[in-house]
């Protein structure tokens, strides 16, 4: 049953990615002030969408798991954590690459940047907990506890970094600053890119989920036959 979903997502991802790449590199006009480097924007913002989507899926899956434990929801949370970490890492890297030529610095401690960095650390901690926790339902429960606490903390972290920047004001930067002034063609490109990356995200999560289920199945079989 899951084979058609997987194939569908793979075909959709490939098709959308070709369209997005065409739009980003050939169709959309070059931004006047920032130049060609601004095209990173069409990857950076969709990656960020995926990063936060992963977080939300972990939160929901963790709550469902704690209320009604099942290996499926645990696998969903685990898969989105891995893909989410990948997206967060790429988001941070693309942000750094964009920041240097445009604002002259690799990194500024703006609230968004700081929150994203902390988010990255929570993702890493989550996966480390999964790696070091006892196998089976106990490890899954531990991970779910962290999944809930981590998500609840994100708005508090954002608020605290925003208050912190009020105390140490530096130049105001961030993708948010120019979103309102986007050309319609840029807006279309961005929108399609976001959809593409959400589909890509879903495809990777589905693949990882299947792999994880297969791992569990193999383990069960090894256990069953090894003991005989």
């Amino acid at each position: 049953m899951s084979l058609p979903i997987r194939t569908l997502l793979l075909v959709a991802t490939t098709a959308l990615m070709v369209i997005t790449l065409y739009l980003v590199y050939f169709w959309v006009p070059t931004e006047q002030v920032m130049g060609v480097v601004q095209r990173i924007f069409y990857f950076h913002v969709p990656l960020a969408t995926g990063a936060f989507l992963g977080y939300t899926i972990i939160f929901v899956a963790s709550i469902v798991y704690l209320v009604r434990p099942s290996a499926r929801w645990d696998a969903v949370a685990h898969a989105s954590a891995e893909v989410g970490l990948l997206f967060t890492t790429l988001m941070l890297l693309s942000g750094v690459l964009w920041s240097k030529p445009v604002w002259g610095i690799w990194w500024d401690w703006s609230p968004r940047l700081t929150t994203s960095l902390i988010l990255w650390f929570i993702y890493v901690g989550y996966l480390m907990l999964r790696a070091y926790a006892p196998r089976g339902s106990r490890g899954a429960r531990y991970a779910a506890v962290l999944g809930v606490i981590g998500f609840v903390d994100v708005p508090i972290i954002y608020l605290s970094t925003r208050l912190w920047r009020d105390v140490h004001p530096v130049q105001m930067v961030g993708p948010g600053a120019e979103v309102g002034a986007l050309d319609p063609s840029m807006e279309t490109t961005l929108l399609i890119a976001i959809v593409t990356f959400i589909v890509l995200f879903s495809y990777l999560v589905v693949e990882r989920y299947r792999l994880r289920r297969a791992e569990e199945e193999t383990e069960r079989m090894q256990l069953a036959y090894g003991q005989r």
Binding site: I118, M128, Y132, Y142, V148, G150, D153, I156, I157, S160
Partner: protein, 224 residues
């Protein structure tokens, strides 16, 4: 309700007795906290102007590092001697268990800080024994203990728990650390309440959110 409160205090009393007799948490953690503070002294030098700038950072780095060390001990002790299994067998609700462990972690950290503040005052020649600062210390320590108790229970049953606890703990309590450092700096500069009220408010909100969330989640860190 009365039985609930009695259960919470029974757990607190148990940890207190253990500490009085074995002395395995407060004393070593206090020595460690002092060493962290003194190391900072060598890193930044002793110029009075510089000390005034880095004082609040020094204070909070030593408190958080010492805090995470103490939190790790709290559940490692329970684990080593099978105490946690005994505790989970008692007919006490899981959130009463959490509150008891939270209170003992909070009071142990506070005990270390009560000694640290005057000692750092003397060593760095700063007026740190101020009522406003105590409020900040109490609220921040409560936040550390609220999250730390759950993470300590999680980490105690994992491999590499000494490393895992700080890796989980620091990103989550970052808002408390920022708030504590900013309000301590403001207090040391002699700023009024209005300058740091929002930080105190943020810490109080963090405490409230995470005491409730952690009390609800603590049950999942126990048992097989």
């Amino acid at each position: 309700m009365k039985a609930y409160i009695r259960a919470v205090f029974a757990i607190l009393w148990k940890d207190f007795l253990l500490e009085i007799r074995a002395k395995e948490v407060v004393t070593p953690v206090l020595v460690f906290a002092l060493l962290v503070a003194i190391t900072f002294n060598f890193v930044f030098g002793t110029q009075p102007a510089l000390v005034a700038v880095v004082a609040s950072g020094t204070l909070w780095v030593s408190f958080t590092f010492a805090g995470v060390l103490g939190l790790g001990r709290a559940f490692a002790l329970e684990k080593e001697r099978g105490g946690l299994d005994g505790l989970t067998l008692t007919p006490v609700s899981r959130d009463a268990l959490y509150l008891g462990k939270l209170l003992s972690a909070f009071l142990f950290m506070l005990a270390v800080e009560v000694v640290m503040l005057p000692v750092i005052s003397i060593l760095f020649d700063l007026p740190l024994v101020l009522p406003a600062l105590w409020l900040v210390v109490v609220l921040a320590t409560l936040g550390f203990a609220a999250v730390g108790t759950v993470f300590s229970a999680l980490a105690a049953s994992t491999r590499a728990r000494e490393v895992l606890l700080p890796v989980l703990f620091f990103p989550i309590v970052l808002p408390v650390i920022i708030a504590a450092v900013e309000s301590t700096s403001a207090i040391l500069r002699g700023d009024g309440w209005s300058q740091y009220a929002r930080w105190v408010g943020l810490t109080a909100a963090f405490d409230a959110v995470f005491i409730v969330v952690s009390a609800a989640l603590f049950q999942f860190t126990l048992g097989e």
